[in-house]
Each structure stands twice: as C-alpha cells, then as structure tokens.
Subunit: 343 residues, 2 copies
Amino acid sequence: MNKRTKLKDIADQLGISITTVYRALNNKSDINEETKRKILDLANELEYRPNSLAISLRKNKMIPLVGVILPIINHYFFATVLKGIMSNAHLHNSLIIAGESLQDPTKEKRILDQFMDQGVSGIIMAPARNSNFEKNIIPLLHKRTPIVIIDRMYDHYKGNYVLTDDYGGGYKATQHLLDNGYKRIAHIGSTDDKSIGTERRKGYVAALNDAGIFPKEEYIILSDIDNPDTTIEKGYEAAAILFKLKNPPDAVFAVTDDIAIGVIEYAKENNIFIPEELGIVGFSNSKMSNYIRPRLTTVEQNGFKMGQLAFDYFSKASSSYGEVFQKTFDLDLIIRESSLGKK
Amino acid sequence: MNKRTKLKDIADQLGISITTVYRALNNKSDINEETKRKILDLANELEYRPNSLAISLRKNKMIPLVGVILPIINHYFFATVLKGIMSNAHLHNSLIIAGESLQDPTKEKRILDQFMDQGVSGIIMAPARNSNFEKNIIPLLHKRTPIVIIDRMYDHYKGNYVLTDDYGGGYKATQHLLDNGYKRIAHIGSTDDKSIGTERRKGYVAALNDAGIFPKEEYIILSDIDNPDTTIEKGYEAAAILFKLKNPPDAVFAVTDDIAIGVIEYAKENNIFIPEELGIVGFSNSKMSNYIRPRLTTVEQNGFKMGQLAFDYFSKASSSYGEVFQKTFDLDLIIRESSLGKK
DNA sequence: TAAGTTTCCGTAAACGTTTACGTAAATTTC
DNA sequence: GAAATTTACGTAAACGTTTACGGAAACTTA
C-alpha cells in the first residue's frame, strides 16, 4: 500500500516547488501552460487527491454547521421536519449534519458528542423517546451551545423549543368523536410515559372527563411503538384486544396514523363497519391517512413549518445570548370519513 | 463573537507552553497536578474544544465526513436510503452531512460546492432528475473526490454506483401482467427522458414486444411527477385520460406506487373493478402500497440495503485508488391483489 | 557533596495545503 | 536601449495539534 500522493511528491519528482504544483492543480494564474500540463499529467498518474483536512485547517473554515438529530430518519413526520430545517438552512448557507438516534438515548448522546467534536455551531433535535435530558441536553446549555428542541418536552427545560399542542390535539380528536355520537371511546397509545403520546392521552382523558365520562382502564391500551416498521401491526394487535372485551368500544382515538390504520385493518378483516360501528381518529395526517379506505380523520402536524421555525429559532439563538424562543403550534383536526358518526 | 479557544490561548493566559496544556488536557504524564488543575479549570471556563481537523491532520487520519445529496429528503425511498447510509456510517464513526437538491441541478451543484468547501471526504448522491453530470459530477472525479452514485445513471459515467435494475423491474412487472391475462397494458411514466423512469418504460416496451405486442402510443402517458406531494393526483389525471379512450386499457404499469395509487383512486370512483377489469402494478413497495385496497402489486426497491452498500463502496473507494465499485440490484416483484388477473 | 535520578516543562519540527511576498528573467514600452 | 511591466516561479509562514527530544531544577543516593 503506497502512501497517498501529496503536493510535495509531485513537486519533488518534477524538481519544482509545492506552490507551483498547487497553482497548476487549482487553476491559479502565474503558471506556464507547459509546466501546468506536466503537473496535471503527473498528478493524474499518481492519482493525487487533495487532503481536505489540511485545506479546511488552513482555510480556517469551521463553516456554519448545524447538527440535527432525529429519532427516526425515514419517518414521514421527521423527514419532513428535516426538510423544513434544510429549506431554511439553505437560505442561510448553513450546512446540516444529520444523525439518527433510533430512539436510543445512549446513541443520541454519542451522536451529540461526535457533533460537538466536529465543531457544529449548535444543535436542533427531536429527542429520543426516553431521552435523558439531564445527561444529554442540559450540559449543552451550560456550555452555551445554541440548541432548539423539537416535538418533545421535558419539565425542567427552559430553552428554545418548537412543539405541537399534543394535549390540545388529543382533546380535539376525542371531542370530535363525542360530537359524532360515539360513547365508548378507547385509546391506543404509547407505552412510554415520557413520550408526546402522554400529552395526547391526557387530552383524550380531559375531553372525556369534560363530557362527564371516565374511561375504563381496559379502554386504554398502551403499545410499544418504537419500531416504525411494525407500528401498523401494533395497531392491529391492540384492536384485537379491544374487540375481545365483553363491551368493546365504538370508537378509537389512536396516538398515531399508523396505529389507526392497523385498527382499520382489523376492523375490515372482522367485518366491523367504519364509521357506522366504529369511529377512528388518528394523529399526524400522514400521506397514507388520506388514501386508506375509509379515509382517516386525523390531527394535522405540519412538520415542514416546525422544521423551518426551528431553524429560525436556531439562527436567532446563535446570535443573541440569553433570549429564549418558544412556540407551540396549534393542531387542526382534519375530518374525513372514518369518524363520520354512528348510523 | 469571540473565536474558538485553542491550546495557545490557554497557554498564553497561564504563561506556559502549548505542550503542557496539551498534556493536561490529554491525561499525559510529565505534568504537575497543580498545573493540570489550573489548565483544566481555564479550559473549562474558555469552553475549549479540540479542533478535530488539526488532530486528524496531525494523526494522519482522514476526517470521516461524507456529503449525501438526495433529490427529495422526505420521500420514503430516499429517506430509507439515507437511513441505510447512516447505519453503516455510524459503524465507521463517519458523519453525514446532508442536502436536498429538490430535483434542481443548479441547487445540486451549489450543495456540492458547499460540501467540497466544507471539506467532505467525498460524496454519496442520488442525482437530480435531469442532473448535469458533465457539469456537476464529472469535475469531482477529476479532482479525485471519492463519489458513489445512487439510483440514477449517465452513459459516460464510469465511477462507483449502486443502482437498481429498473429495466428488469419494468420488464418483470409487465410480464407479470401479461401472465395474468391482461392484454391492453398501458403505462404511466415520467415526462423526463433522463429519469430512471425511462429504463422502466423500456422494460415495459421490451416485455410487450417479446410477447409480440406493440403498444399503442396512446397507452403511454408521461406525466410530470416532480412534486411528490401531487404525484397521486397525477396518477389520477393520467387514469382519467386512459379511460376516456375508445378502447381503454385493461391494465396499467405505473412508474411509481403513488401514481398507481392515483389510478386506483380513479378506478374506485368510476366503479372499475380491480383486478377484474383493471390490473395495476406499481413501483417501489412503498408503505402505502400494502395498505391501500386492493393491495398493490409492486416492484420492491430496497433503499436501506442500497444505502448501506453505497456507504461500503464509498469506504472502499476512499482507501483504494483506481478500483471501481459497481452494483445493480435485481428487483423483485411483490405480487398482491391488484394484479391477480382477469375473471 | 558529587553523582545519579526524577519531576516537570519547553523547543521545534512535523501533518498537507494555502497565501502573502519577493524576485529573477522575459517581454513590452517609449 | 533604458525603464517599466509582465511572466513564472520560489520562500516561508501560517492553520491547531501532536510528539520526539532535550534540559533545568529538585530530589535521592552513597
């Protein structure tokens, strides 16, 4: 394995200076065409490849580099958040260095460290499901690293964030089912008590309570929805449990569109008519929700806007110390067929 | 806006040498505990972070920063490719800097330049629809930047790539429709003649020809599918055109699952029964394809594997000069309800 | 107390590229 | 044909970290 050629190798072989070689390879002026040709030929032969490390070091370019960490990169919502971040980053000539925590706080921490070592100017992140804020995120604040949190909250966090009103979304969804005549409204949520699912569940409970209803424990099924590739199956399984109850529900508010779709799957296979026998509301307004039959009523979550705003906040936070930027997006219900009401 | 602290800053403030500071910060021997403490304290206060560029340069280790450019970041296939790239990058302690070209060659070029300026060690990219290889990609080869192309090809490109056999996929899909008794097989493709759609269309034509059929021009509809948010609508519109023909087709091979779903939409609204009256095959095995009714027969494209391999190739290309790595993945047909054959 | 041993720190040269500056030789200008 | 300009190169010092080497001062040993 012969070593990688550098400018000096070419210079030595041709008996000229490094600078001249440099000029030839970078289309600089002050060089003879003949010399240039010889240099380019030799560079070609020796397969010269510039050392980007040395270049960056010399140029002192630790460019505007923003670290973005998301739990699942090929999840539509998060991918769209990333798209939103990028769209604004592009306008500011910022570069995005991306990582996927796969909902693993340890991995998340590792990525954060890598990013900081790499010299990112700050972090925009949607924390992992049960991310350790104290260990992973708070230390960054102490180091005055600009950071914007997306989509998930932690009680003692007082920094910048862009959230959605998950509580309100859960409330609206449940209220909507009540308004459409459903009485026995079940909920399929996430096992994780730190997830945003908790807020949606609280909204669900609150809406029921406000209507004088106190949901039975058996109507609330918590499911492990860590793996996005199996979420639909989890919805299916949860539905199976619900419909084996003595007194099955007549509506389901699912914490996720995918879960809701799993429920629809189950209902179809078991000849349970939607929305006549079963009303369903999901969460996210995923692409699929509009094309499954019946079309799924869902709560809209605009990832693109959230991403854009997150980058804006990041920008501001980077240039002004002390100031804090926070926003909670209201969520709108998108009413479609799956919750049209009982016959 | 104060500059990033370096060893020299700490050394100067304490009136000691850089080497001593280095020793303190790296747990080396030959240092007094008292001195060490002072250095660590100051380093903490000044928020010292080692310059990874300088470290890697001195240690002769390439910095593991890979630029990834994709046409559409929140498209499931591309997002999954990204996930695959990341999964392997993670194993190699590589970092991913990501950009979205939005199918715009100008933007693509700009991102490439930004990435090179930032000192990425190379590029993995799925070129934009009508990317200008000569202008955007070939120059990188001349600079000996390691590069791996995904998903799209250009005749004169002789470098590393990871492709799918789109021609074969189109052939298989069409053949499958023929095998199931469909005779008048239409195709909805992409307007862009440089896109992968062309290969799929060629496969379609070839399969028909091999069966002694020469498709009418009116059975091939090309649609502008640039915007992923409207692709389904485009499929719907194309179907509308097809079914207003005097002699409408009895099957459609769509260049994309989303297009196929648009066709299904149209069929449902117009009481055209699938698969009895109309067979449909899509392309991509998108998540949705398995949950739309009827379930969509489609050609599987394993983005995750492609991403992983792309990173592997990138790794190899970075350390071995001259060698070229190329792979074309065979595509499997996933047979579901939408093409079960005529009654 | 002279010689040997630690302890602690500094000097200077790398890593590969970029760039300000300098300067012979060749060319142009008047 | 002397002066001014241009052409085509070279020198050396950066960028921030690492490391081989050397050497005073403090401490030990006989």
